[in-house]
């Protein structure tokens, strides 16, 4: 309607609408990038720059680095991650940034780099950083993130960790050039624990797997119990017998095994399960010896995003995502969306495309990100962790949002989740901030 008329060049006031036409082209180009890269032909950043030679336009290139990891298959067919997990969030945020950018002559490009080889991935990212792309959103393991961070040391570059909950990245191994949109395990455990304590379900039976990540989440739960007045009445280790994840029939033995495993424990309110690899936790709901709810990595779960959240204007956000990706939004998509939107917000507010300026704004307390959680989000000054509410829900619906009412804090109630300033063991970050 009236779109042709709006692009008449004779009228000064028609600029806004002309921009939209121009940007439709850009968005399409951006969406092609991941496909090209998947075929092993990394796009040279210089080519991206040359693609749209429009005068007076600021171009902001955001790199998304994905480490392709082998993961054992989850127990449920419903839990296989989609191939574009996270990337779809980056695409939506890039579209959102560009819609805003058209009013400010700013164009955002997304450059997705993915590899199973960490050295190769880091080399590709470095190449782009050398060419001027200073903002790297990463979905990588903790170990790989540390290598990436060290490779980019001394450059005007920021790694935004969207995929790893590992607390050591925020603590002893924190890096001055890294912030985190993914909530840490401590934040997740605290979010869950606050709700259980609010419910007065304070006595917990902890069942953990044998993996290192399982132990890390179990540790986060122990810490949360101490902070908020929960009591772990007993801990049990569940050993997964390796083999086929499905046998024809299967349920008969599990139905015997889980009740036996949860017998003879001190009285408890909730069974907490620490199974990050999704190898056994789903066996526990409805099978425990005593009729008890299950929470933790399965059952009632803490998370950064729920695909059915509709509060705080999230409905439109969920709709937008579904139209783009043809599936519900997952926590990783959200973490990446927040990362890419942080860059967009910094560009809008600073009116700059220079990585150094954008990075400074992202880390500053001025950042005031609206991200469909009913609160302004910003990055903590002591470890770079995004301050955010934690959703607690079942597979179908959010049950609650933490921080819970009554958990107070002298600065921000959001800082009752995770590691607070006085407890922080992050040294490198403080030094980095002093620069």
């Amino acid at each position: 309607m009236g779109e042709n008329a709006s692009c008449r060049p004779s009228r000064g006031s028609s600029r806004g609408a002309c921009w939209s036409a121009l940007l439709l082209g850009t968005a399409a180009a951006v969406q092609l990038a991941p496909a090209t890269l998947a075929q092993g032909q990394p796009q040279a950043p210089a080519e991206v720059e040359a693609a749209a030679p429009t005068a007076g336009v600021q171009r902001i290139s955001i790199v998304m680095a994905r480490e392709l990891r082998e993961r054992p298959p989850p127990l449920s067919l419903l839990d296989f991650p989609p191939q574009d997990d996270g990337v779809a969030g980056a695409r939506l945020a890039t579209d959102d940034n560009n819609t805003t950018g058209r009013f400010l002559k700013q164009q955002f490009a997304l450059d997705v780099v993915e590899s199973a080889s960490v050295p190769e991935l880091i080399a590709e990212v470095e190449k782009r950083v050398r060419a001027g792309a200073g903002l790297v959103v990463a979905d990588m393991s903790a170990e790989a993130l540390l290598q990436l961070s060290d490779a980019l040391k001394g450059r005007d570059a920021l790694v935004i960790n969207a995929g790893s909950a590992d607390d050591r990245l925020r603590e002893a191994d924190c890096r001055a050039n890294m912030v985190h949109t993914a909530p840490s395990r401590a934040m997740l455990a605290d979010g869950l624990a606050q709700y259980l304590v609010w419910k007065q379900w304070r006595r917990w039976l902890l069942v953990r797997g044998t993996g290192r990540d399982d132990e890390a989440f179990a540790e986060a739960l122990r810490r949360a119990a101490k902070r908020f007045g929960g009591k772990i009445v007993e801990e049990r280790v569940f050993k997964v017998e390796t083999g086929s994840r499905r046998a024809d029939g299967g349920h008969e033995q599990i139905q015997q095994q889980i009740p036996a495993f949860t017998q003879n424990v001190p009285s408890y309110d909730v069974l907490l399960v620490a199974d990050e690899g999704e190898q056994f936790g789903e066996y526990f709901p409805y099978r425990t010896w005593d009729a008890r709810p299950v929470a933790g990595t399965q059952g009632l779960t803490p998370m950064s995003w729920h695909p059915a959240l509709e509060q705080w204007g999230a409905t439109q956000f969920q709709n937008r995502f579904r139209r783009l990706a043809n599936r519900p939004m997952r926590p990783l998509d959200y973490n990446v969306w927040v990362a890419v939107r942080s860059v967009g917000e910094a560009a809008t507010r600073t009116k700059s495309a220079v990585p150094k300026a954008l990075i400074a704004y992202i880390r500053s307390p001025e950042l005031d990100l609206a991200a469909f959680k009913g609160r302004r989000l910003s990055y903590r000054g002591w470890d770079g962790q995004l301050r955010q509410p934690i959703l607690v829900g079942t597979a179908k619906l959010p049950i609650t949002v933490s921080p819970q009412h009554g958990f107070l804090h002298q600065h921000s109630e959001l800082d009752t989740l995770g590691v607070d300033r006085p407890e922080s063991g992050c040294k490198a970050y403080e030094e980095g901030n002093r620069q």
């Binding site: 309607m1 009236g2 709006s6 009228r11 006031s13 028609s14 806004g16 609408a17 939209s20 959102d96 819609t99 805003t100 009013f103 400010l104 204007g313 439109q316 956000f317 709709n319 937008r320 917000e345 809008t348 507010r349 005031d368 990100l369 609206a370 009913g374 609160r375 302004r376 921000s412 109630e413 959001l414």
Partner: protein, 339 residues
């Protein structure tokens, strides 16, 4: 007011002729019985798919009317004949006879309409389509969409200047107030405001437009002619965390001296001196207060309190909350008719 006035509790859309005849008599009965300065207040209940109709003198709900799905924005036509309701999940605007709440017709709105504003001449209607980054312009006489204006991400707040020349739309994720020339339906300027702008409200003399930012926690006052920011209203309430102060609805008195700002989960309405942009007072109302409406004589201000399912009534002269009235679930929009 005659007790037979609101005899029918639920009125579904598209009823037969029999009921319409019965209603023809009602305005007459109303005129005879009505004391001066009793107004009709309409509140949309987002969760219930209803409109609560209140009497501003009795201060009670006199009727609850079934409307379309997820009703949010609500306004009256210029002649006050029609009540227009954004039925967000039905993707349309429903028109009711404001006197008897008979369903009249449906207007196209574009997807997910949330808030809208009428041109001061009475036509057209400007609708924010939150899902589509568009403002849709609808001729309410012909019922046709006449233009679509691309704006920022999640358009929401809509304000039109008293002379009708300028339309202001806010986009929640782009964080801008878009200034649109109503003659050409083109954006002429964009003003960056704080996070998640929700409502744009013009002063009656057209000299200022006030834009609330829900997550930013501020109200930005803009000169619509120069698009320069004149000032920012900031809020601080002892004992209430800054995070909970989330300005949404804004109403400015006709004399331009006082602005009332609904502060969402802070459960308060701020009374702002428009000369200094300072808050004079905070009035404690129901929970998650979002939208506001004056009675035509500006003696009362009604607030919709989303999570406590009620409206608070503020005595504007004394700056006191005089009553809270239970309505449906998640009350969202409110408008008052001069009858």
């Amino acid at each position: 007011m005659g007790s037979g006035r609101w005899a029918v509790v639920d009125q579904r859309r598209g009823k037969g002729a029999g009921r319409a005849i019965a209603y023809c008599l009602l305005p007459i009965a109303f005129l005879l019985a009505a004391p001066a300065a009793a107004y009709t207040v309409y509140v949309t209940n987002e969760k219930d798919n209803t409109v609560s109709v209140l009497d501003s003198e009795k201060l009670e709900v006199v009727r609850t009317v079934k409307v379309g799905q997820r009703p949010r924005g609500v306004i009256l036509s210029k002649d006050h004949k029609w009540l227009l309701v954004c039925a967000s999940d039905d993707n349309n605007v429903q028109v009711f006879d404001a006197r008897n709440m008979e369903y009249v017709r449906t207007l196209p709105s574009g997807p997910d309409p949330e808030l809208f504003v009428l041109h001061p001449s009475g036509n057209p209607l400007y609708i924010a389509n939150e899902d589509d980054n568009l403002v849709t312009v609808v001729d309410i006489e012909t019922g046709k969409a006449v233009a679509e204006i691309p704006v920022g991400v999640e358009p929401e707040g809509m304000g039109v200047s008293p002379d009708g020349k300028l339309l202001v739309n806010t986009s929640e994720t782009t964080n801008m107030a878009h200034f649109i020339d109503t003659a050409t339906n083109q954006i002429i300027d964009n003003v960056l405001v704080d996070s998640r702008p929700r409502v744009a409200e013009f002063k009656a003399d057209g000299s200022q437009v006030w834009v609330s930012a829900e997550i930013g926690g501020t109200v930005t006052v803009i000169d619509p002619n120069t698009r320069k920011i004149l000032g920012k209203v900031e809020f601080q309430i002892p004992g209430v965390s800054q995070d909970a102060i989330q300005p949404v609805g804004v109403r400015i008195s006709k004399d331009g001296k006082r602005a009332f700002v609904a502060l969402g989960p802070a459960n308060r309405v701020a009374v702002v001196d428009t000369a200094t942009f300072r808050v004079e007072r905070y009035l404690l109302v129901g929970q998650r207060v979002w939208q506001l409406a004056f009675t035509p004589d500006e003696k009362l201000l009604f607030t919709t309190n989303g999570t406590s399912n009620d409206v608070s009534v503020i005595d504007v002269e004394r700056l006191r909350v005089v009553r809270s009235i239970k309505v449906g679930r998640y009350p969202w929009g409110v408008v008052v008719a001069p009858f």
